[in-house]
């Protein structure tokens, strides 16, 4: 950003057009940071920019005020071109207190702008944040353009005489800051003003206070000329259509509901609250008008047990959790594999092992989905690539489960779950159909007699006369489904179950190769790293490097064309937020000397990290 603040422009301050910007808000987890970020996001989406967001919040609901443990952050990248990630380094950083500054300063772009709430930089807060000297005064921020603003005092002045308590006034300061940011990026305030009216419609005093704070911040930025000039980010060339902003968890829930409607089967969601998956339970429980049955079970096992019972009864049955919950469900997943019932297991992955990093993102549960059960126990595994893609893959997971009569894992992660992006709303009347399979006549009914195309067994709901049957976890006799301990039958059934899951490969569309189909490096990604990998690969391609990428949404079975695509490249690189799980699968299955590019910090990849990693391979450093 160039600094033109020295040019005096008394009435209309100059506007500089820029292509894109990255902003981060951070403060105490009670400062309303997530709300402020979401408001900025909505306004930005309405302005026609492409965008991507990343909320980053602590596991504690209210960690000690003023400490780095309690810092909540929200980052957004918006642009007049395609946006694939929330951005590596903020151009503008809003720090509501010293702890927020301390926890985030290492990420801010050198030369970037830091707006700090100066009121909070007192001895007590500085000490809590771990500063021995005030960083606003010791020159340690000389690489940045620091703009100290007395957010608290200015908000108090703006709301003076309204009869609000000190706490009520204090709560409006985030809108003062938001008003300033709207001015900085030349944004209309109408969407937020409207949101405030709806949110506080029962309390007109709060409507007025928040409106005032927002306007005051906006006016302050203009009249005090603290920024000198402001920026404009023009509309992005986005595919025409009707859009909304959506988070991954919202999209997942909507995908499940759409699948239930398309399948003509009521939805059952058995779940136990767990971060970061609980929002899917919240979202589904809001939509009972679709016949959705949500069951908040006593534990993770009961959650999946109820789903298995509902699947037996003919519902579209789902259970959702994060990694620790999947660990508890493992035995029941085996039961669903054995009884060949359709079931979707959603794992919104978080940092592990054990309790790990509940609010941080990771991709370390791929092995758990592929192998984490006793016995030879295959399941279909799919993964979403972006927040909006969670809709598509939730729908696809449901469709595959029903089509192949098998458990299907849907892997998303904390980054996708809470991150948001503009979403081209699908036409509800054009969703892929669910295949309807007619029941065999009563006389021909055999519980484990398989459909020749899908190898699925017939799904007969209890209540159907003449088809009474017993399911269970003991090995089944082929065709009849009776208990069998016969050695040859067991081997046959193990192979049949694996073959059935592999049949789902016929549903996988051809992979899209980003870039040339032949070259030096092929990057293979999966899950929520799509944005960073794609942006990194595109940057390298622009620089003339021989790099292409494919992104996998199907992890078991793998896309049938993956092997042929890999054969046209000298190197295969697999970036993952784990120690190399897909990497090992690819090495084992295709016997290729693939290289991992791994990060295990609970944070998503930065684009620059992807670029550097691939560059190193291109240069033969690795």
């Amino acid at each position: 950003m160039s600094d033109t603040s020295t040019q005096p422009k008394p009435n209309t301050l100059p506007i500089e057009e820029i292509e894109s910007a990255v902003i981060r808000f951070a403060g105490d987890s009670g400062d309303g940071i997530q709300l402020t970020g979401m408001q900025f996001t909505t306004t930005t989406a309405f302005a026609g920019n492409d965008l991507s967001t990343f909320p980053d919040y602590p596991a504690e609901i209210r960690a000690p005020v003023g400490t780095t443990a309690g810092v909540s952050g929200f980052q957004i990248q918006f642009s007049s071109r395609q946006v694939l990630t929330p951005g590596d380094a903020p151009d503008v950083f809003v720090a509501m207190n010293p702890a927020a500054l301390k926890a985030n300063i290492h990420d801010v772009k050198k030369g970037g702008m830091i707006l700090v709430n100066k009121d909070t930089f007192n001895a007590g807060n500085l000490k809590k944040a771990g500063y021995e000297v005030n960083p606003l005064e010791d020159g340690s921020l000389s690489e940045f353009r620091v703009i100290p603003v007395e957010l608290g005092r200015l908000t108090r002045n703006a709301l003076d005489g309204m009869g609000l308590t000190a706490t009520e006034t204090e709560r409006c300061k985030n809108f003062f800051a938001l008003g300033m940011m709207y001015w900085l990026y030349d944004r209309p305030m109408s969407a937020t003003l409207k949101w405030i009216e709806t949110k506080f419609k029962k309390n007109p005093k709060y409507v007025e206070a928040n409106h005032k704070a927002l306007h005051a911040g906006n006016a302050y930025a203009e009249t005090a000329e603290i920024f000198g000039h402001h920026f404009r980010v023009n509309k992005a060339p986005i595919k025409p259509g009707l859009y909304r902003n959506i988070t991954g968890n919202e999209a997942t829930a909507l995908g499940f509901i759409a699948a239930s409607v398309a399948a003509g089967r009521p939805l059952w969601y058995g779940s136990y609250p767990i971060t970061p998956a609980s929002d899917v339970l919240h979202e589904l429980s809001k939509n009972k008008n679709f016949g959705v049955k949500t069951f908040q079970a006593e534990d993770e096992i009961a959650a999946i047990g109820s789903a298995i019972g509902a699947a037996f009864a003919g519902h579209l049955a789902l259970t959702g959790t994060s990694g620790p919950g999947v660990a508890l469900k493992a035995e029941a997943i085996g039961l669903a594999v054995m009884t060949e019932l359709p079931l979707v297991i959603l794992n919104v992955q978080r940092g592990g092992p054990s309790t790990g990093l509940p609010t941080k993102t990771e991709q370390a549960d791929l092995f758990q989905a592929l192998y984490g059960r006793n016995g030879e126990c295959p399941a279909i595994v799919v993964a979403a690539a972006t927040p909006g893609d969670c809709f598509t893959m939730a729908y696809e997971a449901s469709r595959l489960a029903v089509k192949y009569m098998t458990p299907v894992f849907l892997l998303t992660d904390g980054y996708l779950a809470n991150g948001s992006e503009p979403w081209l709303i699908p036409d509800a009347s054009k969703l892929a159909p669910f295949d309807k399979v007619a029941l065999p006549p009563v006389g021909d009914f055999k519980l484990y007699k398989r459909d020749p195309e899908t190898m699925a067994r017939p799904w007969v709901a209890p209540g159907t006369p003449g088809y009474e049957h017993r399911l269970g976890g003991i090995e089944k006799q082929d065709v009849t489904g009776n208990i069998s301990y016969d050695p040859d039958n067991h081997e046959r059934m193990v192979r049949l179950r694996a073959a059935k899951v592999n049949k789902a490969a016929q549903d996988i569309p051809p992979l899209e190769v980003l870039g040339a189909k032949k070259g030096k490096v092929l990057v293979i990604g999966w899950g929520g790293t799509y944005g960073a990998i794609t942006a990194g690969v595109q940057n390298l391609q622009k620089a003339g490097k021989s790099v292409s990428s494919v992104h996998l949404r199907n992890l078991n079975p793998l896309p049938p064309d993956l092997g042929d695509i890999m054969a046209n490249f000298d190197h295969v690189v697999v970036p993952e937020l784990n120690m190399g799980q897909l990497l090992k699968v690819i090495r084992a299955k295709y016997l290729v000397p693939a290289t991992g590019l791994n990060k295990i910090k609970g944070q998503p990849f930065k684009v620059t990290e992807i670029e550097a990693g691939i560059d190193a391979i291109l240069k033969g450093d690795k």
């Binding site: 058995g270 049955k293 047990g305 019972g309 209890p462 009474e468 017993r470």
Partner: protein
């Protein structure tokens, strides 16, 4: 017996016999196992319920008793250890037309599955939960269970158990089960009566069935349930009737402070202060009194009250939601705020 205890005739044109409820699978319990008698009794009462067999499901966990569903020609699910109530909850709420029975044991239901049992009962899921209590782990060949007497010597407790056993009836009552009863495997007519009442109850049923394990814990309840002594050691309770027991019907229960006291009397002239059983009492105090009574050991229906069932409340919320806001998928996908890119 009160009127509602009578076996109801089959409703409508459905004519089924016990044979219709027998599957083609060979029953594989040890010869002499108490489970045979319970199976036969269940198969016997089934045709009296007026429910076609395709509308009945048996769900079980793991253990000897949990093989039960394979022997019933109804829908069935032999699930995993301790988890039967969870599968049954999903089945019942997804398809409320089904009458769902859960067969479990003292290990399956009270140890590994204790959590699910209490939650299914407190939610008043319309499940008929039969807990076959033989005070031993049979299928794993003879370890002590959560109901084994303290000091019991088993393969895993050669010096005697040091774990306090739990009281299944008190647990069910604490979990707010709406129907709580006890019966014995060898008293088939009474077991049949209790099961029939349970079948007609709307809500969560818990029945503890004293069951003998002839191989690993033979004589599990011989001290009270042996044929020659059971009239004097056990007491059948009936709603609205005084608490009387004994082969000669000459013993009864009166209240001494907060404790039961056995009194002996001339059967022709029972004392006026005998306790009267009230299974419908709004409070579970009397039922708990019975649950903790050791001499005699009560059997019968301790508690039978009605309250809304989980599936009813679930369906009512869905109906209300549909009325408040008719489902429109496109509207849902559009969400609260949209914008158009031209």
């Amino acid at each position: 017996m009160p009127d509602e205890m009578e076996i109801l005739p089959a409703a409508g044109p459905i004519v089924q016999t016990a044979k219709d409820f027998k599957s083609d699978q060979m029953v594989r319990w040890c010869p002499g196992c108490g489970d045979f008698a319970i199976l036969a009794t269940v198969q016997k009462i089934m045709p009296t319920l007026g429910i076609p067999r395709e509308k009945i499901a048996f769900v079980s966990g793991i253990g000897c008793s949990s093989r039960f569903p394979y022997y019933m020609n109804t829908y069935g699910f032999h699930s995993i250890h301790g988890r039967a109530p969870t599968v049954a909850t999903g089945l019942k709420c997804a398809n409320p037309d089904m009458q769902v029975w859960v067969v479990t044991g003292d290990g399956d239901g009270l140890s590994i599955g204790g959590n699910h049992l209490i939650h299914a009962l407190r939610r008043n899921v319309d499940l008929k939960i039969l807990l076959f209590n033989n005070r031993i782990y049979g299928l794993t060949k003879g370890q002590y269970s959560p109901t084994s007497e303290i000091g019991k010597k088993t393969k895993s407790s050669p010096m005697g158990t040091i774990d306090m056993p739990l009281n299944p009836m008190a647990l069910a009552l604490a979990s707010e089960a709406s129907f709580v009863a006890r019966a014995v495997d060898t008293d088939l007519p009474f077991l049949g009566e209790v099961l029939t009442r349970a079948a007609h109850h709307k809500g969560s049923v818990f029945i503890e069935i004293f069951q003998n394990c002839i191989v690993f814990n033979d004589g599990a309840f011989e001290d009270v349930a042996a044929k020659e002594i059971r009239e004097d050691k056990m007491m059948k309770v009936y709603h609205g009737k005084p608490m009387i027991f004994g082969a000669k019907k000459d013993k009864g229960i009166v209240l001494n402070g907060l404790e039961p006291e056995v009194v002996t009397f001339d059967p022709a002239n029972p004392p006026k202060n005998l306790l009267i059983h009230d299974e419908k009492a709004p409070s579970a105090t009397l039922a708990n009194f019975l649950a903790h009574m050791a001499e005699p050991v009560p059997q019968g229906i301790f508690r039978s009250v009605e309250r809304p069932m989980l599936h009813e409340m679930m369906d009512a919320q869905i109906d209300q939601a549909k009325k408040d806001k008719p489902a429109n998928l496109q509207k849902l996908l559009n969400g609260p705020e949209t914008w158009t890119v031209a």
